[in-house]
């Protein structure tokens, strides 16, 4: 059961984690298959500690998990986090976000028109 207390909060954390373009790029890379941290860091012009920080955020919300074997830490997407139910709920939520933004733009445009008519 995904309610606001557990699933909803987790979903919020997932959304926050994915608000960052670097973290989205990392998830997109991992969606193609597991990769060691060094390979994940390669395409980015930033320090390894910075990448590790991003990975920390992704691990905290459960989008990514990692495992250390010897000296190599390998990361993978935890697909369970983006389960179908959550995907549906996320999509519905996104749909509503876009709707409410369009409504806002519409109301603002009307308001402006109203103002100019008063003048």
């Amino acid at each position: 059961m995904l309610n606001q207390r557990d699933g909803g909060e987790r979903l919020d954390r997932v959304f926050q984690a994915l608000a960052d373009p670097t973290r989205r790029a990392i998830v997109e890379r991992l969606a193609r298959g597991p990769a060691p941290v060094s390979a994940l860091a390669e395409p980015f012009a930033m320090s390894l500690p910075a990448i590790l920080q991003h990975l920390g955020v992704l691990e905290e919300c459960g989008l990514v998990s990692s495992e250390k074997v010897g000296r190599v830490r390998t990361c993978r997407v935890d697909t369970a986090t983006l389960s179908l139910a959550e995907k549906w709920i996320s999509e519905r939520r996104l749909l509503w976000q876009r709707r409410l933004d369009r409504l806002g733009a519409l109301l603002a445009a009307e308001e402006e028109q109203g103002e100019s008519e008063k003048k």
Binding site: L2, F15, P21, T79, K87, R92, L94, R98, L100, L107
Partner: protein
């Protein structure tokens, strides 16, 4: 054979609009106004039958199809309407004839300064997932794209 599953979920969204509650309410109550923001951008979507009866017990119907995508049907019934303050309706959606969700949507409008705070809560039963892992993977990729666009936009 369909694997029968039900997952319950809910989410809450809030927005503050710089207009009086009556104006926001009108955007939900008036079919012509609602059409301007409720439906998605026209690209890739063919609208079929559409009707709206905005009163307690009244029904709203929308049918359509995505280009190269599934046919979607939406049917809602309004159960509580307090002008300028509250709207509650239930609705179901089908995708290619299969029912994918049955939900309850609650919209509250409260004055805030010179504007209105809108709170939307959707509580739903999401039905019979597409359990094909390939579909799921594609869906995850689509979701990530959509997330990115909405967050950047």
């Amino acid at each position: 054979m369909t694997n029968r599953t039900v997952t319950h979920g809910s989410f809450t969204l809030e927005r503050v609009y710089p207009v009086k509650p009556a104006r926001v309410f009108h955007a939900f109550a008036d079919a012509k106004m609602k059409e301007k923001w409720f439906a998605g951008p026209s690209g890739g979507w063919t609208q079929g039958e559409k009707s709206m009866d905005f009163r307690v017990g009244g029904v709203e119907v929308s049918k359509g199809k995505f280009t190269d995508g599934p046919a979607i049907e939406f049917q809602a019934a309004y159960w509580d309407i307090v002008p300028d303050e509250r709207i509650i309706y239930s609705y179901w959606m089908t995708m290619d004839g299969k029912r994918i969700s049955v939900s309850l949507a609650t919209i509250e409008l409260k004055p805030e300064g010179n504007g209105t705070r809108l709170k939307l809560v959707e509580q739903g039963a999401f039905l019979d997932g597409f359990d094909d892992p390939a579909v799921r993977e594609k869906g995850t990729a689509d979701l990530l794209d959509a997330l990115g666009r909405s967050l950047e936009g």
